[in-house]
Amino acid sequence: MALMDNYLPLLVFFAFGILVPVGTIIFIRLIAPRGEYPRKHIPYECGWLPIGTAKIRFNVEYYTYAIVFLIFDVEALFLYPWAVSYKNPLITVPNFTLIACIEMFLFIVILLIGYVYAWKKGALEWIR
């Protein structure tokens, strides 16, 4: 039974995980007021009345913009674990701090080059 003991919390977690969304849906069904009116069938755009159709083409610049943003977003994420470990006294590798700094420096420089390239190519201009 020891095996089952180990898995019991997991089972509980699983059951709870299912219960919450299902329960919420049922709960809302029970207490929410219901009415049918035409506006209910139009797309939801944060309270604004929708303008035009939803199937429009996005400007291609939007994607380059997003990609450049994503790169720096991920870079920032990568800096966190680096920041807590580059001076970690527990790591006994010789010159670890130096290596870690150089590596991060290289990483940022490479990204920077990409940034300069993207900028010069006009990836950050909204309307070309």
């Binding site: 010159n95 130096l98 390239y117 190519k121």
Partner: protein
């Protein structure tokens, strides 16, 4: 801080570092000045090649044993750099004045860096990352002529199948990590495996994953379309360079790391090698597009090289393993020259047709009729490359086949050697046909002079092909010495 310490420890990384530096310099400079980029890339390649050769007999590991620098890695780096240099020289003409030169040379150099790191990888993770670096850059390169739908198709197919093969490879690698708990090749090579369903699955996945890159039948479907559609200079690089990345990865993973498993798999490799060479040669017989023919011949050549894997999995005798692997390495070096040269020569003709505004399929065999009169240097060189690929004496191809086939016989696989020899006799037929068209048919188009840059690249490849055939002694010795890594 102590800079000497860094240099003395990380000095072996200099070739890659130089190449990366040049790559970034090129993409930045390319924003403003475009005319010097090719020469800059060439200089970077030469410097890097010089550094590799200076450090040829190094023996070092880096970054917690995840990279290894030994004669094997240096040998492959030399091959990769040579191919890249040939490609750059030819591209000087082909991409002259192209608005996207910066990106082109950048991707070329970065792909080379990736391949060089594959050669140095000593860990599943570093291998995979380097493999992806080397692959992704080439996907873009294959689709570089974006006005040409064929090129787009080539890049797209290559990308889809490459991505699939990466996924398969990665799954195989994770299974190996799951079984052994380590990703390091040195540690893996000391493990003793039990043959189980998991090891079986892992090995199958790895062979399949790498088989795509090496274009072994049945994982070859992308190769003809990609080699045909890609810009010819890029095809040269893919067939002569990028494909070797698959081989070095296979040698490292299967022969070095999973050494304990190799005997179980001799029959699988044997079947793959035989099917690959036979299929490649048979299909090449009927091709009208020369690039497709070269692609299929490249598949056949991969089959010959894969014979080395068969031999080492069949026998453990040191001298046999040494001969087989040495032969495979020599084959890879000479294949880089022969196949690279052949693609570049075909590219020369394609370029001349484009330049002289003759609208035909760039690589149809009819374009080559009477080439000996309109473009004598290209025709002669292509003849030598094709005869070399067929294994005619006094070319690199003969010595390579001599080594590989003799290794097979030495290892007791005479039947394999017989099949391979019959295959190379068969291949002579389609190579000789092209020579026939070039030398004794009437010229079809009036071509105006051969482009210098292409001629230089083709002649350099010719020099390599003939030198390795006429004076192979020292090179064979080097290959055999390098192959001692596998013992």
């Amino acid at each position: 801080m102590n800079i000497e310490w860094i240099l003395s420890n990380y000095g072996v990384l200099l070739p890659e570092a130089v190449l990366t530096l040049f790559a970034f310099a090129i993409i930045l400079i390319g924003l403003k000045y475009r005319s010097i980029l090719g020469y800059l890339a060439f200089v970077g390649g030469v410097v890097s090649l010089g550094l590799v050769i200076m450090n040829f007999s190094v023996n070092a590991t880096l970054l917690y044993n995840s990279l290894v620098f030994d004669p094997l890695s240096q040998f492959f780096k030399v091959v990769f750099l040579l191919v890249t240099l040939l490609t750059i020289i030819a591209s000087l003409r082909y991409y002259h004045g192209n608005a996207h030169q910066g990106e082109y040379y950048f991707l070329l150099l970065i792909a080379t860096v990736g391949m060089m790191f594959v050669a140095s990888a000593n860990d599943l993770v570093s291998l995979f990352v380097a493999f992806e670096l080397g692959s992704i850059a080439t996907y873009v390169l294959a689709a570089f002529d974006k006005e040409n739908p064929r090129s787009i198709e080539a890049g797209f197919k290559y990308f889809m199948i490459g991505a699939l093969s990466s996924a398969i490879l990665l799954l195989g690698m994770s299974l190996i990590y799951g079984i052994t708990g380590t990703t390091n090749f040195t540690a893996l090579s000391q493990m003793s495996f039990e043959m189980s369903g998991y090891t079986l699955a892992a090995l199958v996945l790895i062979i399949a994953g790498l088989g795509f890159k090496m274009a072994l039948v049945p994982f070859h479907m992308w190769a003809p379309d990609t080699y045909q559609g890609a810009p010819t200079v890029v095809s040269a690089m893919l067939a002569a360079g990028s494909k070797k990345m698959g081989f070095v990865a296979a040698f490292k993973l299967i022969v070095l790391a999973l050494i304990a498993l190799r005997t179980e798999w001799y029959m699988v490799f044997a079947v793959i090698a035989v099917i690959t060479m036979t299929y490649g040669n048979l299909v090449a017989l009927t091709q009208r597009s020369l690039k497709r023919m070269l692609a299929y011949s490249s598949i056949a050549q991969a089959g010959y090289i894969a014979m080395a894997l068969v031999v080492v999995s069949y026998t453990h005798v040191d001298s046999v393993v040494n001969l087989a692997m040495g032969g495979a390495l020599f084959y890879i070096l000479s294949h880089a020259f022969m196949k690279g040269g052949a693609f570049l020569a075909v590219g020369t003709v394609g370029y001349m047709l484009l330049r002289d505004k003759i609208k035909v399929d760039e690589d149809d065999i009819d374009n080559f009729s009477g080439l000996s009169k309109t473009a004598p240097i290209t025709a002669f060189s292509l003849t030598v490359f094709l005869f070399a690929l067929a294994g005619i004496p006094l070319t690199a191809g003969f010595v390579s086949k001599l080594l590989i086939f003799s290794a097979a016989i030495y290892g007791g696989l005479a039947w394999l050697a017989v099949i391979a020899i019959l295959n190379s006799a068969l291949s002579l037929f389609y190579y000789a046909r092209v020579v026939k068209v070039m030398y004794w048919d009437k010229p079809k188009f009036d071509l105006k002079g051969e482009p210098t840059a292409y001629v230089v690249a083709v002649l350099l490849a010719l020099l390599g092909t003939v030198l390795l055939g006429v004076y192979p002694g020292p090179f064979v010795d080097v290959a055999m010495k390098v192959a001692e890594v596998f013992l």
